[in-house]
């Protein structure tokens, strides 16, 4: 089980500057738990203390926005690619 994760620039401080890391997990929640061991602080930037995705972060499994496929409970398969992106947003 190996999942490739693309890390946006603003979170590379948690991955020693790497833009691509690998992790494992049956679900997205498990993946972030696993990633946090080697990439301290990464999970907290993506997942709230209540255990939901932060409002202004986009997470994709392959090309799917995970909000539409179960959020943190979305299932992962070997070879999946996960992308984390800032939601570029604002308002007056």
């Amino acid at each position: 089980m190996s999942i490739e994760v693309r890390i946006p620039t603003i979170l590379r401080q948690h991955t020693k500057g790497q833009k691509l890391v690998t992790g494992e997990g049956e679900t997205l929640a498990e993946l972030f738990d696993h990633l946090d061991a080697a990439n301290t602080g990464l999970k907290a930037r993506v997942v709230t203390e209540e255990g939901a995705l932060h409002r202004f972060v986009n997470v994709y499994i392959n090309d799917e926005d995970v909000r539409f496929i179960g959020g943190l409970e979305a299932k992962l398969s070997d070879g999946d690619s996960v992308t984390i992106l800032p939601a570029v947003a604002g308002g007056m």
Binding site: I10, R45, Y60, V88, G90, G91, M92
Partner: protein, 149 residues
């Protein structure tokens, strides 16, 4: 950017200019869909943003400019613009604001946003000085320097 902002008015428009990683050179303009379709809020459409990010990843590009418009207020980052950009934004990008509140004259200003701090930076218009509608401070024969102090 101004044409896109005008076209989407009265909704806010948003988009990016991509360039080769590490060069800071804005080369490829990508107008994005404002998923919020709102006069007061913008958000890159998540699916489109992923497609463009994949393209940039494959081309070794990054976001050099992230822009959006304000349709009723100044071309200055709002509290939520700065808050969201600071929390999880594009630290290398110039955040450019365009205001379309005046139908005749668009104002374009550029900022760095990091850790809740907004820092304005000057814009230099080169190549098409005739596109500039008004001169704020100074201009040389082939460029216009917008001083921000």
């Amino acid at each position: 950017m101004v044409a896109h902002a005008r076209a989407d008015h009265p909704d806010e428009a948003c988009g990016l200019i991509a360039g080769p990683e590490g060069t800071g050179a804005p080369q490829r303009h990508v107008p994005m869909t404002n998923a919020a379709r709102s006069t007061t809020f913008y958000e890159f459409d998540a699916e489109e943003w992923k497609r463009e990010y994949d393209r940039m990843w494959d081309n070794d590009e990054e976001v050099v400019v992230a822009y959006h418009s304000h349709t009723h207020t100044e071309a200055y980052p709002s509290r939520s613009d700065a808050g969201i950009a600071s929390e999880l934004g594009l630290p290398g990008a110039h955040y450019v604001l365009v205001t379309t509140k005046d139908p005749e004259t668009a104002e374009v200003r550029s900022f760095r946003i990091a850790d809740g701090v907004i820092t304005e930076e000057p814009i230099e218009v080169t190549g098409a000085p005739e596109a500039v509608q008004s001169y704020k401070f100074a201009h040389t024969p082939d460029s216009t320097v917008y001083d921000c102090h």
